[in-house]
Symmetry: C2
DNA sequence: ATACTATATGCATATCTTTGCATGTTTGTG
DNA sequence: CACAAACATGCAAAGATATGCATATAGTAT
């Protein structure tokens, strides 16, 4: 049943690759493969206007690379695509343990989001775990 | 010396990723990571006009992903970028041993290039060997 | 030389992507 | 309810990329 296609679907693959072929999106994905982040943090990280960031997130979300999660007034995103996670691991290297969250990296001192408040769960959020293909 | 940049160069990487983010170029690279092929074969494989194929090859060549090699009237291309070879391995999977060259795949019966003639060296051309990063 | 074959190049047009910005929606708060 | 904060959406202008096609070049053979 189905086509005996041992040929890769170059069209579909190249469509997905295009999502990484953009400096800001690649950067966003590099962050979101490590831990979930809210839009306000990504906005600070990229140093771009908020609608700009939301648009890139929309694109990634509409292609099911990332998933949103509303927490009160904030929205957290995380990577959910295992294949893309594996691509990122090859392209950007493995996730280092010395990684420091955006809030500490960029000194978001006056950020009121739960992650910057004491609202963050003890020991931080559960790490993102994706089975690599 | 130099910047202590543990940050990946997202701009440069995304530029390189763009080269794969195109169905015909991805297909070309998938062939050229296996064995060297002449333009006439790639033209037959993609079923696109020759200038179209040459233009994609030029782009890949100008970014040093592939290298040309003139043999008489024909030009052979092969993949020479190890990092991209590793990406392709992750994205398209490992190179299978059941691979059949384009000439046999597409029945290029009237192709006069050396590879289709008996001019091909005994046992075929040496396989392309690239050290994966 | 002449003509032929394989491939490359240049350029115009069409098409998709990116980016900026105004406005909309949702949730929380007084 | 009114208002503020965080984020999403829609749309248009600018920019980049893709494609088609005419023509150029470089080897080969006659």
């Amino acid at each position: 049943m189905g086509v005996d296609s041992r040929e890769p679907d170059y069209r579909a693959l190249s469509q997905r690759i295009k999502l990484l072929a953009h400096p800001e999106r690649l950067r966003i994905l590099d962050v979101l493969r490590r831990e979930r982040e809210c839009v306000c943090h990504l906005e600070a990280l990229l140093d771009k206007p908020q609608p700009y960031v939301s648009q890139q997130l929309r694109l990634l979300r509409e292609h099911d690379l990332i998933q949103d999660e509303k927490v009160g007034n904030n929205v957290y995103y995380r990577l959910i695509d295992a294949e893309v996670a594996a691509w990122l691991e090859q392209i950007l290297g493995p996730i280092t343990s010395e990684h420091v969250g955006i809030a500490r990296q960029k000194q978001l001192i006056d950020c009121a989001c739960p992650k910057c408040d004491a609202n963050e769960p003890e020991g931080g959020y559960a790490p993102i775990v994706i089975e690599l293909t």
